[in-house]
């Protein structure tokens, strides 16, 4: 039997990150969100009749806050801390220099790899989805779990409802 190599599994990010920051000298390891119960809402209409929302962790390009890529080093100055929204009619200039993507193996040169708006526009033209919501929404990163749950998530829900979204696609980076 010719099995795949042992390391050819999804990367154990939590273990790697814990070990990494401990070795760097930081105690008090990060606790990732963890629940046993998970909510579930079935899709009640065919996707071809549904209005779909898109939520991203990417940020608008911001002049004056340093290199934002492609291929930029981690840039905390490019972070944002409030939910934002923008039109899905055109493709915005979004960047991901403010998040911890795999900088050794990817350069963030093609926004379609982290922000599938162009693909969703195609899916709409093909009749695969009924409609694209008029706005996409940006979700802040580097928040406490509490801020995400008490401030950002309710705000994103409010905006999705305002746009009468039937379903949402969330794309973290």
């Amino acid at each position: 039997m010719d099995f795949a190599p042992e390391h050819d599994v999804p990367i154990p990010y939590m273990q790697r990150t814990r070990d990494y920051y401990l070795a760097l000298g930081y105690g008090n390891p990060y606790r990732w969100a963890h629940f046993t119960d998970v909510p579930f809402t079935p899709l009640t209409k065919p996707l071809a009749q549904a209005r779909v929302a898109l939520i991203t962790t990417a940020a608008h390009y911001q002049p004056g806050v340093g290199d934002q890529g492609p291929g930029a080093p981690y840039n905390a100055a490019a972070k944002f801390y409030k939910v934002y929204s923008d039109s899905t009619d055109t493709i915005p200039d979004l960047r991901i220099s403010h998040v911890g993507y795999d900088r050794k193996h990817t350069r963030a040169e093609d926004p379609n790899t982290w922000f599938p708006l162009a693909q969703l526009q195609e899916a709409f033209k093909a009749g695969r989805i009924g409609e694209l919501a008029p706005r996409f929404h940006g979700a802040p990163t580097n928040r406490s779990h509490r801020t995400t749950v008490e401030t950002d998530a309710p705000e994103l829900l409010r905006r999705c409802r305002e746009d009468s979204a039937d379903a949402a696609i969330l794309v973290p980076t």
């Binding site: 190599p5 154990p12 990732w32 969100a33 629940f35 079935p42 050794k104 162009a118 829900l157 379903a167």
Partner: protein, 122 residues
């Protein structure tokens, strides 16, 4: 983002997450998850490969439509490369010298200070 998906779902909006960090998303627990076994930053498909990107979105839409219950994860059949050695690189201490680790600590302290001052201003 997993917390946002849970909040939307609990409030009546079905969601699907497209992502590359399988353990983190599943540890949180989300309704529907399309996992791409790609380097972080490629949740929506391979760079400059419209076919890969379209196939990734299509799979996410199928998961959105057809997941039978919460915690449904589907793994995309796409491979980043045949050789999986890229998976050994991310934050892997066994490949770093003590000098590199010390340098990373200095870099991270700077990044943390910048993020904190931005957050305090926000």
């Amino acid at each position: 983002m997993s917390l946002v998906a849970r909040h939307l779902e609990a409030s009546g909006i079905p969601t699907v997450i497209m992502g590359c960090a399988r353990d983190i998303v599943e540890h949180c627990g989300v309704p529907r998850f399309l996992f791409s076994d790609f380097p972080l930053g490629n949740s929506a498909g391979r760079p400059f490969d419209p076919e890969s990107q379209a196939a990734t979105l299509e799979l996410a839409l199928r998961v959105l439509e057809a997941a039978p219950a919460a915690r449904t994860t589907v793994q995309s059949p796409q491979r980043w490369r045949n050789d999986a050695s890229w998976k050994l690189d991310y934050s892997n201490l066994s490949t770093m010298t003590p000098e590199e680790i010390a340098e990373k600590r200095r870099e991270f302290d700077v990044v943390k200070a910048v993020a904190k001052s931005k957050r305090d201003d926000a």
